[in-house]
């Protein structure tokens, strides 16, 4: 087990380095460069040359990369030349919003997906099962921004039950915070449940064919115990994997949802930085999100190993 963790950790290092290189190279692709963006159209070539020199932009790219990496390793991700905020400040202010959104969304997705998967697996092939699998398939074809618009139209425009945009921190007013969060989280959750349901359902159907289910029946166990303990527990490992795979989708979805519902999260920070061409923020956020994503995936892998007794005891 320890060896397994160590090997995975060691693999993280080259991936993270490659991620930083890629981020840096993409940022350097900009036609014209940072100095041009900062000084604007009116800048004289001399001014630009001077600023380029001040910022070290006239150095070769690998030297600039190493300098950038050196600062990052010291915790300095740079500072927005528009707001003066550091990248870390901006990100840490907004991360709770995105986390709350993603966790609520995943909970909604699980709350819809898991019971449906169990019900469908228990009655595999029935009319209910076919209807739900069909619906899940249909839902997979609904882009997040479509369900967002439908929900806004239904709950904010027609029924006037919930606010369409806005945000209050949870610490200030939990009820208002949740009212603002319901629609965004529901939007993302609606995109999550079909994947959860489809995978868990087919996994449980496979589990229900196993010999140990036949033995559980032959032991005279209650059908509910067979379904929820003997079939669901082996399949629940899949849930961890799905959750891991969903993180990437959730982050992408959060960008869209935060923009639509005007939530001050990481996604909106990123989109805002693109609109205002705030390249330092953009570069820093992309790097942090990618690094965070890699580390989250690592944690999910470890969690999976921890939960599966076969891997936990070194039979991986």
């Amino acid at each position: 087990m320890l060896f397994f963790v160590a090997r995975r950790l060691l693999y993280l290092v080259p991936v993270l380095i490659a991620v930083s290189v890629l981020t840096f190279v993409i940022a350097s692709l900009l036609p014209g460069d940072l100095a041009y963006v900062i000084l604007g159209d009116q800048a004289t070539p001399e001014n630009i040359a001077a600023l380029r020199h001040d910022m070290g932009l006239d150095q070769p790219i690998w030297l600039r990369y190493l300098g950038w990496l050196w600062h990052i390793l010291q915790g300095d991700f740079g500072r927005s030349f528009r707001t003066g905020q550091t990248v870390l400040q901006a990100v840490s202010e907004r991360i709770p919003v995105s986390f709350e959104l993603m966790i609520l969304a995943e909970l909604i997705g699980l709350a819809i997906g898991v019971p449906l998967a169990i019900a469908c697996a228990a009655k595999a092939g029935s009319a209910f099962d076919r209807f739900m699998t069909g619906s899940a398939f249909g839902m997979l074809s609904v882009p997040t921004f479509l369900s967002a618009i439908l929900l806004i139209y239904l709950f904010a425009v027609e029924l006037r039950l919930l606010p369409a945009t806005g945000y209050v921190p949870f610490t200030e007013d939990p009820v208002a915070n949740l009212r603002f969060m319901v629609l965004p989280a529901l939007t993302l959750g609606l995109a999550e449940w079909p994947g959860i349901m489809r995978v868990l359902r087919s996994d449980m159907i496979a589990a229900l064919q196993e010999d140990y289910i036949a033995l559980a029946k032959a032991k005279g166990l209650k059908p509910s115990r067979i379904l929820f303990v003997h079939a669901l527990k082996p399949s629940s490992l899949t849930l961890v994997t799905i959750t891991g795979i969903n993180i990437g989708r959730l982050i992408g979805g959060a960008v869209i949802v935060e923009s639509i519902f005007a939530l001050p999260g990481i996604g909106r920070l990123l989109v805002g930085a693109i609109y205002t061409r705030d390249l330092i923020i953009l570069q820093g956020v992309v790097l942090l999100v990618a690094a965070g994503f890699v580390i989250m995936n690592f944690i999910v892998d470890m969690l999976y190993a921890l939960l599966d007794p076969r891997i936990r005891h070194g039979h991986a």
Partner: protein
Amino acid sequence: MATLELSLEEEGTTPVRRRQLGMLFWIAAGWMVLVFAVAIFADLLPLPSPTDMDMLERRAPISAEHWLGTDGLGRDELSRLIYGARISLIVGLCAPMIGVTIGGALGMLAGYFRGRFESFVVGSMDVLLAFPPLILALAVTAYLGQSIFNLTCILGVLGIPAFMRVSRAATLSLARREFVIAAQALGATHARILLRELLPNVMLPLLAFFLLGVAVTIVVEGSLSFLGLGVPPPISSWGSMIGEGRESLDVAPMLAFIPAIAMFLTVLAFNLIGDTMRALTDPRQGAL
């Protein structure tokens, strides 16, 4: 939201369900033919220009002149819808084409030659997968500038890892089969084995996956355009139409819903056809 991670697709398709998909399959194919036809022949259709504004006829209702009314700037909705289909299909087809070509080739080479090359390819793909796809697409468009060409390239590159996995998995399972070993024993060159023996067999799962990739690309293009970061205005795209329609959701919800329905049906059609083909061609379930 669907992204470029399609590896989760797997389903115990029972014979009963497959037969039912049969009817849906033909409806989906019919819709796809319709969308393709209007997109290809848009210039020949008697349509008003999709970019001509008419400030006197903003948000006009459905009429003989404007079959689906006009948008917030008085542009003909039907015309924008049809030209939008063009964008969705161009980006939706070209981007996975890049993915299927590069990813498919890399996957076959990795699966056939194994060794260091395989480790390198798989490792590089892990790096590409380390970025949440939409974030990478956003960042790159922000730096390179918005254009259909840039958008297509980025979405294409983002699709490479998924296609690589499909083609590598298929190659791995095929490379040990008798017909490949027989060809090797007969002294066939690597190029000949790859092109004549393996490619025809890897092609089918890749094609099925290609259709699913089209659906995903249309969604991602739509998302970017919806945020105003995809196709540059004034070109009409379903995503940007929905984004513009969102502003007038309270007065003219149809402006958002019409392109939304068109997009949903098209994505669903590609998903349905792709999924049916995958169920028919996938040699091993869960081989991805």
